[in-house]
Symmetry: C3
Subunit: 276 residues, 3 copies
C-alpha cells in the first residue's frame, strides 16, 4: 500500500497530528504514515515548499503527500490533488505545489469535490484524509474531482545574473537546524557562469573564495590537528541538494552559534558571487 506522508504547521504538542493519524487508520487499517515535518512556520508557504521539495523525491513513486497548510477552501484557495513526478500531492491551491515541483509539469490536476464534505475548520482531516485514503486504496484522481487548470503560481526567489554574466545575485532560502544558510544558487548555475574564472562569494561583510563538496573538506588532514581549520570555522559548500550553503563547521545554535547567527544572515538576505 502507498505511503501517506504528512507535512503541516500543526506542531507536535497539540492534538491535531494524532487526530489526523487516527482518522487515517480508521479509514485504512493498514495505512503507512510517515511524518515529513509538523514544524513548518505557520502559514509559511515558501518554507513548506522548501521542506517538501527536498524530502518527497526520496519516497517511492506513488507516495501520497498531504500538505496541510492554510488548508481552508475558499473561492481563491481550492482543494486540489495533483499527480506530478510520479507523486501525489493533496493540498490547497496556495501555490505550494508549483514551488515544490517548479521545473516539472503536472500530469494531472483535479479540484477536489467529494460528496458531503464537512465544511469546518479542520479540512486536512475532513477532506485531505479522505482523498489520501482513496488514492492509497488504488483509487484514481478522476473520481476525486474534475480537471483544474488554475494552479496558483507563487514567485520563486531566483538568482539574478548581472554585469554581463560576471555576477550572480542570489538569496537565502532556508536556515536549517544547524544554522546553516542555504542559498538559491545551484551548482549548475554557478558552473555555467564560472567558465574557469576565479570567484568571490560575498555575504554581508564576509568573503569566501572556495566552495567545498562536503563539510569536512575544510579539514586538511595532512596538517597536525592544532594547525587545521575545523570546528567553528566558516565554509561554503554545495550541499546535498547541490545548492550553495554557508556553514560553520560543527555548529550548534544553542551553544557556539551557526552561520546564520554568526554572519547575521536571515531568510531573503542577499548572497553575491562575483567572477573575476
Amino acid at each position: 500500500m502507498a505511503i501517506i506522508t504528512l507535512t503541516t504547521d500543526f506542531g507536535l504538542k497539540d492534538h491535531f497530528v494524532g487526530a489526523l493519524k487516527g482518522s487515517i487508520y480508521k479509514e485504512l487499517t493498514n495505512a503507512k504514515i510517515v511524518d515529513i515535518s509538523h514544524e513548518i512556520s505557520p502559514f509559511n508557504i515558501h518554507q513548506c515548499a522548501y521542506i517538501v521539495k527536498n524530502a518527497y523525491k526520496n519516497f517511492p513513486e506513488g507516495t501520497i503527500h498531504i500538505v496541510g497548510l492554510d488548508a481552508e477552501p475558499t473561492p481563491e484557495n481550492q482543494h486540489i490533488a495533483i499527480l506530478v513526478d510520479g507523486h501525489y500531492f493533496i493540498t490547497a491551491n496556495t501555490g505550494v505545489v508549483g514551488l515544490i515541483t517548479s521545473e516539472i509539469n503536472p500530469e494531472k490536476v483535479v479540484q477536489i469535490n467529494i460528496p458531503n464534505p464537512e465544511n469546518g475548520s479542520f479540512p486536512v482531516m475532513d477532506v485531505f484524509v479522505k482523498v489520501a485514503c482513496h488514492l492509497a486504496r488504488g483509487g484514481t484522481l478522476e473520481v476525486i474531482g474534475r480537471p483544474f487548470n488554475g494552479l496558483t503560481e507563487l514567485k520563486e526567489y531566483s538568482p539574478i545574473i548581472t554585469d554581463n554574466g560576471k555576477k550572480i545575485v542570489g538569496s537565502v532560502v532556508y536556515i536549517d537546524n544547524y544554522g546553516n544558510v542555504v542559498t538559491n544558487i545551484h551548482k549548475n548555475l554557478f558552473d555555467a557562469y564560472r567558465k574557469g574564472r576565479s570567484f568571490e562569494l560575498n555575504a554581508r561583510t564576509t568573503t569566501i573564495r572556495e566552495i567545498y563538496n562536503r563539510y569536512s573538506d575544510i579539514i586538511n588532514f595532512d596538517l597536525e590537528k592544532a594547525n587545521r581549520r575545523g570546528a567553528g570555522d566558516l565554509l561554503a559548500l554545495f550541499n546535498s541538494m547541490n545548492y550553495i550553503e554557508l556553514a560553520i563547521y560543527k555548529s550548534d545554535l544553542n551553544t557556539v552559534g551557526g552561520a546564520s547567527t554568526l554572519l547575521g544572515l536571515d531568510y531573503r538576505d542577499t548572497i553575491t558571487i562575483s567572477f573575476t
Copy 2:
C-alpha cells in the same frame, strides 16, 4: 491488531519515548504504535486530558491509549485500565480519564495488578506497556486486575450562567500552536442561551460581536483584496470541536504573534458572553 497510542510528558529529546517503543516491539513484533503527543507540560493533567480528549475519538474503536503522566503508583494514585466509549485507556488514577470522557460512563474499570511488577521510577514502561500488549493481543481487562470504583474526579472548569441566562462566563482551556485561544464555551451551550438575541463576547479589553465557523469566514470575497479583513485580524469561531475560539487569522507566535499574545490571554483567563 489494535493500535497503541502514546501520550506523555517525556519530550522528544530524551531516551524515554524510544525506550517505550522498543519495549512494546519487544513484546509485540507487529505492534502499531502512534504518538499522540509527548510534549504535554510536565504533570499537567488538564492539558493532557484536553489533548487526548480531542484526539482519541478519531482512532478506531478498540484502540489502546497509554497516558503516561504522573504515573508512579502510590496509595492515592493507582494504576488503572479502563474501557470507555469503545476505547481502552491505561493510566494512573490522576483524574485524567474522568476529564477525557467526562460525559460518558466507563464500561469497565480495573485496578492493574500484574504479577511481579517492577516497582521503579519508569512505570509507563514497566507496567503500562505490559498491559497494552496484553490488550493488543486480545486479552481482557479482567485478567489485568480487579474491578475498581475509586476513580479520581477532577474539577472541570465549566462555564457559569449568570444574570438570569443573560451572561455566560467561560474560561480559556488551551492555547494552541498558533496562539489560538480555546475556551470551554460549547456551541450547544451558546445556542441554548442565545435565543435569537444579539451578543457581545468580551476577553480583557476586546469585544467581538460575531462568531464564525471557519477561520477564512473573516474574508469577504466580494471586496477587493486591499479592502478585506484577513491576515492579522482577530476573529472568534466555533472550532473543529465546536468550542468558541479566539484567533488571529494566519498568526505565527514567532513572528506576528497570535491571539494569546496579542490579547494577553492565558490559561484560565475569563471570557464572557453577554446577550442583549
Copy 3:
C-alpha cells in the same frame, strides 16, 4: 523484519528525517522504522551516547540502530558497522559506540565499504541507509566491509573514589526533559563503598541525606496532605537506569523550574558523596 532505529541531530523541522525515512522505504517497502531521538544537540557525541545507551536495550535483539551524528567519512572518522550485545549499530567512528556499549566487547566491527558510494554531505542517507537495509534483509556485516580494529575510544566521565573510599566524586552527565539532573554514580558503586555508613550527597550548596527508589517515595502517605513533602521539593533517587539523580518532585522547566535550574547544576558539574 528487523527494526531500524534512527538517532540524529537533524531536528524535526527540516527535510532530513523525512528524506531519510523515504529513502529507507524506497529500498525496503516493509521497513519498520522507529525514531529514538532527532533532538541530540548538534555534534554532541556524549549526549548522543547517553540517549542511545538508555534506549537500545529495550529493542528486540537484531535491531539495527542508525546513529547519524558527525557522519561525514574522513581519514579519521571512518564509517563503521558493529554487532554488539545482539544489536547492530551503523555510525561514524566518533567514539559514540564505545560510550554506548562501554562494558561490552563488540562481536564484530567492520569498516563500511559499499560499491559506488555517493561522497556527498548527507552520508546518513547515502551510506547508512543502504547498510541498514542490507542488514534488515538479513545480509551480513562481512558483505558490507572488512574487519576494523581502530575504534575511537572517548573518555567517559567516571566517578573518582578519594579519601580512602570515604568519598565518591561524580559528575552530571545529563539534564532531562524535567530538569532532572542525572549523575554518573551507579547504585552498585554507591552500595560497594557505603558499607552500612551514613552519607551526605553534596551538589553546590545543597545537601541530601537520603536516596529514594522512586520519585513519589518523597511522600509520607501517613501524614495529612498539608504536612507532606511533595511537589516542588528536592529529592535524590536511583533512577530507572540505577544512577543517582537529583529531581524536583513534579517539576516543569517552563513554570516552577527543575533541579537543574533550581540548584544551578549543569552538564559536568560535580556531585559528591561523603560517607561518615
